[in-house]
């Protein structure tokens, strides 16, 4: 669970003027239900996810986290091309204090990488890197999985596997999604919200959130 306590985030542009990306955000996210935040492009999706992940410090207010919060779903900077798949996984396990043997068994089974796991990431294809990255994310058993914009990666077979895994572990893992794609909300979330003009409004039902989002996200030609 992530609690935002009167959060504001501002950036200073080159002229020195301060612009607020979001302000007075005062809610808690993802305790048991998966939360989806809809925002039009450029309204602070990534900032919101980075704040939740702890990559960025809020300009005002405090953030409390309970349980293990993942890295953003499509983030791959933690995977080094010089190391083998096994070494990369070991590094992640060390950082998050997980049991390496269990995680390795899971990744070997889930990613279908086979003997490639012992080769340097340099020889992996792009699609195989996605498979390793996403299977290690699931192997860490996070309580909350952060998703920035989209959940793509891997071939069709692997994506199907991911969706199945998510369906099976719905009660163990909650999602915190910030996206501009309403389909993601209907597929994965129970609670929805709309972030626009620096204000976050939460709705009890996904349908209402999507309806509100569609009002905001209109591109008038």
């Amino acid at each position: 669970m992530i609690l935002f306590e009167d959060i504001g985030k501002a950036y200073r542009n080159r002229k020195g003027t301060i612009s607020w990306v979001m302000r007075h955000i005062d809610t808690s996210f993802a305790s048991r239900d998966s939360v989806g935040i809809l925002a039009p492009p450029g309204q602070g999706k990534t900032t919101l996810i980075n704040l939740a992940a702890g990559n960025e410090m809020p300009s005002e207010g405090r953030i409390y986290r309970q349980g293990h919060v993942s890295w953003p779903y499509s983030f791959r900077g933690n995977i080094s091309a010089k190391l083998s798949g096994r070494q990369n996984l070991r590094f992640l396990c060390d950082i998050y204090g997980r049991n390496f043997a269990e995680a390795y068994d899971f990744v070997a089974e889930f990613s279908d990488l086979g003997r490639y796991l012992d080769k340097a990431m340099k020889v992996y294809s792009n699609e195989m890197r996605w498979r390793l990255s996403i299977s290690s994310l699931f192997a860490m058993n996070f309580d909350i999985i952060l998703v920035d914009d989209s959940m793509e990666g891997g071939d069709m077979n692997f994506r199907r596997k991911c969706v199945e895994y998510i369906q099976q572990n719905r009660d163990k893992q909650a999602f915190f999604i910030a996206t501009s794609n309403p389909v993601m909300l209907t597929r994965y979330c129970q609670v929805g919200g709309v972030l626009n003009d620096g204000k976050l409004t939460m709705y009890d039902s996904i349908d209402r959130a999507i309806a509100e989002f569609n009002k905001v996200n209109l591109v008038l030609v």
Binding site: M1, L3, T27, S28, S31, R32, D33, A53, G54, N55, Y64, Q66, W71, F75, G77, N78, S80, K82, L83, Q87, R90, F91, D94, I95, Y96, G97, A120, V191, M202, D204
Partner: protein
């Protein structure tokens, strides 16, 4: 949605600090293993090269000393020991600083991760590089003492203390180089230029105590000189050392504090800095 009541049982302040410390230790240990795995890049020759390279250097200098200059060794019965304690220690110190000083720039991709902070990578890399050089030093000292049948380390406790002092010095200078180098790319060029005078005045090739006083009053400010002197004073019986451990200690502490404050003030800029691609670290 959840009620705020669930957060009533917030952990006490002390627990938060303890958990943070444990987390940070875990991150640094993980980074140490990662750095160690990445250091040699799976090439078996680079393991050998780490030991061969300083050997070649010492052999070359020894050759120049005995055949070209036709001079007696600067100090002690053997110029081998003199050069070893000088050249190898200076190069070790400088290489640790150079390698660890690039830790932030080389590991930039990791900082979008949240849990890893820039200075963690510097600490991890300093420890890895220091361990490697400790092995090299042990190898050389053991080899020389075996060949010459001479005791090199006279005061073991002092030797260990000197090594710890050098580790502290390397860590703080590497932190300063890493933070300022990430902020001001120009700094790495300044550091490269500084390298030559620093080596010349570090007492690698001469005995600092035999220098004229005017000269000594200038070179005494060079912290590398103190590193070399500290290690030498524990390896010779009647060596007159000008090294001052308190100078090294205070220099390192001031540097460390400066580096920490620079990191805290400009953390965002440091994380977002771009790599300039300079790869040459050896003179």
């Amino acid at each position: 949605m959840t009620s705020r009541a669930e957060f009533e049982a917030r952990p006490a302040e002390m627990d938060v600090v303890w958990r943070g410390a444990r987390m940070n230790t875990r991150v640094i240990v993980a980074l140490i293993f990662r750095e160690a795995a990445m250091r040699f890049g799976g090439n078996p020759f680079s393991y050998v090269w780490t030991f061969v390279e300083p050997g070649i250097l010492v052999a070359l200098l020894l050759f120049v000393r005995t055949y070209v200059q036709t001079a007696t060794p600067a100090f002690g019965e053997s110029s081998m020991v003199f050069l070893l304690t000088g050249v190898v220690v200076f190069r070790a110190t400088r290489n640790i600083i150079n390698k660890a000083g690039r830790a932030i720039i080389n590991n930039r991709a990791l900082f979008d991760f949240g849990v890893i902070k820039p200075l963690d990578t510097v600490i991890a890399r300093t420890i890895v590089e220091f361990t490697i050089w400790l092995l090299v030093l042990t190898f050389f000292f053991a080899a020389v003492s075996r060949i010459l049948g001479q005791e090199i380390i006279t005061d073991f406790q002092g030797f260990v203390l000197a090594l710890l002092l050098i580790l502290y010095f390397c860590l703080s200078v590497a932190m300063l180089n890493a933070t300022i180098g990430a902020l001001v790319p120009f700094w790495s060029d300044v550091w490269k230029i500084l390298n030559i005078p620093l080596m010349m005045t570090s007492g690698v090739l001469f005995v600092p105590a035999q220098m004229p006083p005017e000269m000594l009053s200038i070179i005494i400010w060079n912290p590398f000189l103190h590193c070399v002197e500290e290690l030498r004073s524990n390896s010779y019986l009647d060596y007159i050392s000008v090294g001052d451990p308190y100078y090294l200690l205070s220099f390192s502490t001031v540097t460390l504090l400066l580096a920490l404050s620079v990191e805290r003030l400009f953390r965002k800029e440091i994380i977002n800095s771009r790599e300039d691609g300079g790869e040459d670290d050896d003179l």
